[in-house]
């Protein structure tokens, strides 16, 4: 049993000295609940405070205010080692002068564990990570992936109640990252430990997490399962941050509000009913005439000669299975003037459409397209989402439901 609770955590850094000293609030009141055996991923743009938050949980940094509870016990004033956590650093932070075995056994040595017991535990961990043949090597003589495994092994040996990972895979190449991602997921199932994982890699977050915590500027924007964040983002930031390529946004006006959704007018003058509630979570109601932001993911746009949108194809990325079309859309108007956009504006005012792999569009083509209104999002001026009337059926899915072990367990249970 290992749970973690953060209550209104604030972290301030003071820089400068004397009269010119200035205090910056880096974490601005974070509340979080991590359940036993949960795999929680912190994501957010660079500098949003992910590492700082994790270091406070680890005890390497003091919280300015707020409470950190592990298994219900307040840990603020307890040293890092006594919190029963293990941390895997982005830089691996292996001890360069020790062999792999010594690296992994260091914590046990400090704890006064006998040599035999130490060897036993190190060997057990080495077995899990296939590090057996490397135990006598120095870190210098290891590849990046092997170093990463040693760093994880060092954490496993301590048998921690909670594992902390700070961007552990960001120094690895793409193929190795995929492999380690799967290995970590396997470890999580095997060790049945609570894990907290920092990353700014979308795919890692979406594939590994039971629960994703989206941070921005020291504030938690949303906490939820991957599918919940994807289908029901709380606000425009989360909508834009989760999902790749990014969600497309367009300013539109409300022409009708009813029980079955909000009707909006599109640039070509046509109207669409989007099945969302008319109230934001903080109680503000949408009325006719309000201007809102429509959000549609690239994968929910489709080529359609009668569609409400038009655009000119600027760039085509063919991945085989799918094709991304980067479109120049004249903001507001339905008719795209050819070559009317400067390239640096493209990312802002251009839209991305994910089409079938066999689509035969060419650069320069003017195309018309439509969108799936069921899956469209609406955001208020303040960026808050109007939630979809229909909960997506997969939102409560966790990563464990996707793994083979639980699937077979479920089958056994059924049999």
């Amino acid at each position: 049993m290992s749970t973690l609770t953060l209550k209104n955590i604030v972290k301030e850094f003071t820089s400068g000295s004397g009269a010119s000293a200035s205090t910056t609030q880096v974490i601005k009141g974070v509340d979080l609940e991590v359940k036993d055996q949960e795999f929680v991923v912190f994501v957010g743009p660079s500098g949003c405070g992910k590492s700082t938050l994790m270091r406070m949980i680890a005890g390497l940094e003091n919280a300015t205010s707020g409470d950190i509870l592990i298994d219900g016990k307040r840990m603020n004033d307890i040293g890092p080692a006594e919190r029963g956590l293990a941390m895997v650093f982005q830089s691996y932070a292996l001890y360069p002068h020790m062999t792999v075995g010594e690296n992994m056994g260091f914590s046990l040595k400090l704890a006064g564990v006998s040599k035999e017991e130490r060897a036993e535990k190190v060997n057990a961990a080495a077995e899990v990570l296939q590090l057996g043949p490397l135990l006598d090597r120095k870190p210098k003589a290891l590849s990046g992936g092997q170093r990463q495994r040693v760093a994880i092994g060092r954490a496993i040996v301590r048998n921690p109640s909670i594992f902390l990972f700070d961007e552990p895979l960001s120094n690895l190449d793409a193929a190795l990252r995929v492999q380690m991602r799967i290995e970590l997921a396997r470890l999580h199932a095997e060790l049945k430990a609570t894990m907290i994982y920092v990353t700014h890699d979308q795919v890692e977050a979406m594939t590994m997490a039971d629960k994703i915590v989206v941070l921005q500027g020291g504030v938690v924007e949303q906490v939820g399962s991957p599918m919940e964040l994807y289908h029901h983002p709380r606000n425009r930031f989360v909508a834009g941050f989760i999902g790749s390529p990014k969600m497309n946004f367009l300013d539109i006006t409300v022409t009708g509000v009813a029980g079955e959704g909000v009707t909006v007018r599109l640039p070509d003058g046509s109207e669409r009913l989007i099945p969302v509630v008319s109230q934001t979570e903080d109680g503000a109601s949408v009325i006719v005439g309000d201007s809102l932001t429509l959000g549609v993911r690239p994968e929910h746009l489709m080529l359609d000669a009668q569609g409400p949108f038009s655009g000119q194809v600027q760039v085509i990325e063919r991945l085989g299975g799918v094709t991304s079309l980067y479109l120049a859309t004249p903001d507001g108007s339905g008719d795209a003037p050819i070559g009317g956009l400067k390239s640096d504006e493209q990312s802002d005012s251009g839209w991305i459409l994910m089409a079938d792999g066999d689509v035969n569009s060419r650069v320069g083509d003017s195309i018309r397209y439509g969108f799936d209104t069921e899956r469209a999002h609406l955001f208020t001026r303040e960026g808050l989402a109007l939630q979809n009337l229909n909960r997506h059926p997969l939102t409560s899915l966790t990563r464990q439901d996707n793994s083979l072990s639980s699937a077979s367990a479920a089958q056994e249970a059924r049999a």
Partner: protein
């Protein structure tokens, strides 16, 4: 005009310029070597001449033009050993320089640790201030130091010299260790803390092993500086605790011909540190130029 001629001309000129480039590389190397040797010889010549003189008789030592070829004699050495016991002074030098070095490291390691890993607003200022004390002329504090030593009974004691040498070298030692410690990634120490290391265990199990080359070269430098120090040893010791610098100085009183004897004494005084420096030069250079963990 066929293309083949122009091609061969081009090839020839390319060959010429290539060989010219090669020659200029060789020339550059030659010049550098010559310069290095010249500087080395100029610097080493006085020592060489001193060693040569120490094996002459007093008459040969002052002969003009100086004789390069002579029958070496150890007369000078025998005479000076008869006048003062070299080994007593040498032992003092060893004890004092090693003692001062160990004491300096003992104090500097924790201070450099705190400055490198737990810096405050005043750390940089403190470091600069420590270094600035090295700019103060020693003579300026001779009187107060002398009086303090007299009152504490430290005059002419090894302990006294150990303390003063330690203080003299402390700024340099702290600075050097600070830069070596700074090179150690903070993550490694934090990983140690996560593994349950106390501050002392962190220092002994992680920091010291990782910066050993740097600490060694710092220690070596400190030994050499202490060994060669002459101002304080001459002013604060008379006989009991006098190190080799005082030993040399005691031969400089003009009484008859003394060049050969003085040379012999000086040779004996610098021989240990010269050999020591020569044996440890690799270590010194490695520590001083490459940082601790490269």
């Amino acid at each position: 005009m066929s293309t083949s001629t122009s091609n061969s001309v081009a090839a020839a000129s390319a060959a010429v310029s290539a060989s010219r480039a090669r020659r200029s590389v060789i020339n550059k190397k030659l010049v550098l070597t010559l310069v290095a040797w010249t500087i080395a010889l100029v610097m080493f010549f006085p020592i060489f001449w001193m060693i040569l003189t120490s094996f002459k008789t007093e008459a040969e030592a002052i002969a003009t033009p100086p004789s390069l070829f002579f029958t070496p004699s150890v007369e000078g050495y025998i005479e000076i050993q008869a006048r003062a016991d070299y080994f007593k002074y040498a032992l003092n030098s060893v004890v004092i320089s090693l003692g001062a070095t160990l004491l300096a490291l003992l104090i500097a390691i924790p201070s450099a640790y705190s400055m490198a890993f737990l810096p405050t607003k005043r750390t940089q200022g403190t470091l600069l201030w420590m270094l600035s004390t090295k700019m103060l002329p020693s003579v300026g504090v001779l009187l107060p130091v002398y009086l303090i030593f007299r009152d504490l009974g430290l005059l002419d004691s090894r302990t006294g010299l150990i303390i003063i040498y330690m203080l003299m070298n402390l700024p340099i030692v702290v600075w050097m260790l600070y830069t070596f410690f700074k090179d150690i990634p903070k993550d490694i120490l934090e990983a140690g803390r996560m593994d349950g290391a106390s501050t002392l265990q962190e220092i002994f199990h992680l920091l010291l092993p990782l910066t050993l080359p740097g600490i060694a070269s710092t220690g070596l430098l400190c030994v050499i500086l202490s060994w060669n120090e002459a101002f304080w040893s001459l002013n604060l010791t008379t006989s009991n605790a006098a190190p080799l610098t005082a030993y040399i100085a005691s031969f400089s009183s003009p009484e008859g011909l003394f060049w050969a004897k003085l040379s012999a004494a000086s040779t004996l005084a610098i021989a240990p540190i010269l050999i020591f420096g020569w044996m440890t030069q690799k270590q010194m250079v490695r520590g001083l130029t490459f940082g601790a963990v490269k």
